[in-house]
């Protein structure tokens, strides 16, 4: 940083204009890079890889769920006798897959892609900054995240395998499974501490960048909605993650130092009284965990909403409907997300007063979500819509997120939650929010900003194949889950046919599993497209989508320092189809447009 100016006599002729292209050595440019764009791409690619990995774990589980107790052809032999004796999945392995699928998808996939990837790459560009406020801290955040992910993956290979207590790691089970340092659950905890630390560093960086480094003329009411969404997300990360860090430390102490934070007195395990001091409280973990994990839900969805807003405004060629309403809603969502956590705990017997409080806050928080969705739908009205690949994904986000959101209401009401809690209905609900919701929005983001990151367009035909196949397949996966859940099928059963009420909906499990495998095949066009377009995609200039926000003022791909001239902002972010103007878009960065 600035220190370098003073001892810069190394013959490079430092680029004081902020966009110099003196060549950094390979490891500085691609590995230990301090450039927000490279770090964003690192996060993005890592996260995409983990999304596919986490999805693969689920595809294995889907075999056991569709055909319980039958040997898995081919792969079953490869996975070894411990996990798949005779090609049949062991119950312990099933539990590992379940816990790790959730953990990997949320903490190693969606959050790093939405915040680490898109946030890092897009936010500084959209606010006209040369980089993040603390570039070295940004690098550190990635290099704390990566060891965390590696520890998480390494946990599959320790004795006893990976964590088996679900992605929520509820004690006492999580406290007592596996002993000592080399056990899946301990690795899970250490990995979480690293990943949380990385998120904290990132969130500080985002907030400072957005508050301090906006370009001239870029007031808060001129920020693109994506930046507002990322700002609120950063606050959620900053304030919600430390309690889980504290909880992880306490659970590490329980597992390694023999404390009893989460272990009550008189605990009996396998007929033997546990030799512990006792006096702890398992519900304490649930409170600490959900105090993080409910805001976490909004960490998953807010950046996605931000992407959808950008793509919709750009492809309907009209301003976002209710821009200020959207911003107020997203800020209100952020606040409210801190006071709804115990709606995950209605079944813990925490008392009716508490339940009523959290039921009310949960109903309140649905209001801004509905406002946001309504604004997006109103934005489509009367628009001259271009159905590009990103727009298809963004449009599909609307009904998918609506299904996910509306099916959440019965879970937020104590009376109906008692029946639906921990059934497949819950799985269907949050997957509609996160999979065809958030993930579709993230795919929209990949297709939308790919030209900015690489200077080349992704293939639109392959993109549409990817979209339609994914859209059909994903509904075959999650829609039947609502029916299974209403039939009472519990979410964590190794063999769903052991209960009579599970046998009635077992056919749906076969449908879901084939849906999941079809969804995997539907990703092939995306993978091919992603890599092929790096070399073969059509070259683009700086503004291929005819968009209005600041990132499209920079070259594609932007060089170090991002902008060729210091950007100045003249107007609000979504001035599309302004009457009397020659073009149907008036970029923020043009004085006359």
């Amino acid at each position: 940083m600035s220190v370098q100016h003073h001892n810069g006599g190394n013959g490079h002729g430092h680029a004081h204009d902020g966009h110099g292209h003196h060549e950094l050595p390979f490891w500085r440019k691609y590995i230990f890079s301090v450039d927000h764009k490279m770090i964003g791409i690192q996060y993005g690619v890592t996260a995409l890889a983990f999304l596919f990995f986490g999805f693969s774990l689920m595809m294995l589980m889907r075999w056991q769920l569709a055909y319980p107790g039958q040997p898995l052809p081919l792969l079953g032999k490869l996975l070894g006798e411990t996990d798949m004796p005779g090609g049949v999945m062991a119950p312990e392995f099933y539990n590992q897959l379940g816990a790790m699928h959730g953990t990997i998808m949320v903490f190693l996939g969606v959050v790093p892609l939405a915040v680490g990837g898109f946030g890092n790459f897009v936010v500084p560009l959209q606010i006209g900054a040369p980089d993040m406020a603390f570039p070295r801290l940004n690098m550190v955040s990635y290099w704390v995240f990566l060891p965390g992910t590696l520890i998480m993956i390494a946990s599959f290979f320790v004795p006893g395998g990976a964590a088996q207590s679900g992605w929520t790691s509820y004690p006492p089970l999580s406290d007592i499974t596996g002993q000592g340092f080399f056990s899946g659950q301990t690795f899970w905890l250490f990995a979480m501490v690293l990943i949380i630390t990385s998120s904290l560093l990132g969130s500080i960086n985002f907030i400072v960048t957005i508050v301090q480094l906006r370009a001239k003329g870029l007031s808060f009411w001129r920020l693109p909605f994506f930046v507002h969404a990322q700002l609120v997300t950063a606050f959620l990360l900053l304030l919600a993650f430390p309690p889980l860090e504290a909880a992880s430390v306490l659970q590490i102490m329980d597992r390694l130092a023999g404390t009893s934070f989460f272990l009550p007195s008189g605990l009996v395990v396998s007929g033997e009284p546990l030799k512990i001091a006792g006096g702890g409280n398992p519900l304490l973990w649930q409170h600490l965990f959900w105090f993080l994990a409910h805001p976490e839900v909004y960490v998953l969805i807010l950046p996605a909403m931000g992407i959808v807003a950008e793509v919709i405004a750009n492809n309907t060629r009209k301003p976002l409907w209710g821009y200020r309403l959207l911003v107020y809603s997203v800020v209100f969502l952020g606040f409210m997300s801190f006071v709804v956590w115990a709606h995950h705990m209605f079944m813990t017997g925490m008392g009716t007063t508490m339940s009523t409080f959290f039921q009310i806050t949960t109903m309140i928080i649905s209001i801004p979500s509905v406002i946001i969705l309504t604004c997006f739908i109103m934005s489509l009205y009367g628009g001259n819509i271009r159905f590009t690949t990103p727009m298809l994904f963004a449009t599909a986000f609307l009904p998918m997120f609506a299904i996910g959101g509306l099916t959440g209401l019965p879970l937020g009401l104590t009376a109906s939650d008692i029946y639906l809690h921990d059934t497949f209905y819950v799985i269907g609900h949050f997957h509609y929010v996160v999979a065809p919701g958030t993930l579709f929005a993230l795919f929209a983001g990949v297709y939308y900003w790919y030209p900015k990151a690489t200077g080349r367009q992704m293939n639109d035909a392959l993109g549409k194949v990817h979209f339609w196949l994914s859209f059909i397949a994903i509904n075959f996966i999650f829609m039947p889950m609502f029916f299974q859940g209403m039939a009472g099928l519990s979410r964590r059963l190794y063999d769903p046919t052991i209960y009579a009420h599970g046998r009635g909906v077992q056919t749906l499990n076969v449908v879901i599993s084939w849906g999941a495998w079809a969804l995997a095949i539907a990703q092939l066009p995306f993978i091919v497209n992603f890599f092929m377009s790096l070399k073969k995609g059509a070259r683009v200039a700086e503004n291929p989508w005819h968009a209005t926000t600041l990132e499209w003022a920079a070259p594609s791909p932007p060089g170090h320092g991002n902008f060729l001239t210091e950007p100045v902002v003249y107007r609000e972010p979504y001035e599309y189809s302004v009457p009397g103007k020659p073009n149907d878009y008036s970029p923020q960065f043009r004085a006359e447009a």
């Binding site: 370098q4 907030i207 301090q212 900053l238 919600a240 130092a257």
Partner: protein, 203 residues
């Protein structure tokens, strides 16, 4: 390192009135409040769930060493004062005075840790490990995490005292900002102890 010039690294932003680093440190402290807030809440929840505290009977003030704790409180408060004086010396343009006060801060922090070491080893000597009961579990986790924060502060302050102080020659304003930010962190660590001491030792 990156040669990109980031605005407001040293000079305050005209609207917020502070440079980037200071906003960053305040945000970091906000997250630290949540970290210790969660731990204090856990302490309250576990303690209220017990019929007696400490579980073995007696009073906290009989189990823990109140005179040593009081002494350590005084040590940390004094170190906060020396920290402010170190920053004020920078503001007044005197590096030697800065070094004196910063040296005193680091020294007092080390005194705190040495006292803590004697307290810990006394507990270990009596076989009172974190696993003994939840009183010790809470005590060791809270003071241990606070101790780690002290160690972090010592590392940062020692850096500013030694290699980091070279920046005084090239960019004294930036250096003064760094001292101020380190000071904000140090006052926070001090403040945590001021909550820890009565709630663990006295109540």
């Amino acid at each position: 390192m990156s040669e990109t010039a980031i605005p407001y690294m040293v000079k305050p932003h005209p609207v917020t009135g502070i440079p980037n680093g200071k906003l960053g440190i305040w945000l970091f402290l906000a997250s630290e409040v949540m970290l210790f807030g969660a731990l204090f809440s856990s302490y309250v929840l576990i303690r209220t769930g017990m019929p007696h505290w400490p579980p073995e009977g007696g009073l906290s003030s009989e189990v823990l060493n109140v005179p040593l704790g009081t002494f350590n409180t005084a040590v940390l408060i004094t170190s906060s004062i020396t920290m402010v004086l170190a920053w004020a010396s920078c503001k007044m343009g005197s590096l030697p005075k800065f070094k004196m006060w910063m040296g005193a801060t680091v020294f007092l922090a080390l005194v705190f840790l040495v006292v803590k070491y004697f307290e810990y080893s006394d507990k270990f000597h009596h076989e009172h490990f974190p696993s003994h009961d939840n009183f010790y579990a809470i005590y060791f986790v809270l003071t241990g995490l606070h101790g780690l924060h002290i160690v972090g502060g010592i590392i940062v302050n020692t850096f500013l005292l030694t290699a980091g102080s070279k920046m005084w020659q090239t960019d004294p304003e930036h250096f003064t900002n760094r001292v101020e930010n380190a000071g904000l962190y140090w006052h926070f660590v001090d403040l945590v102890w001021i909550f820890l001491f009565p709630s663990l030792y006295l109540l």
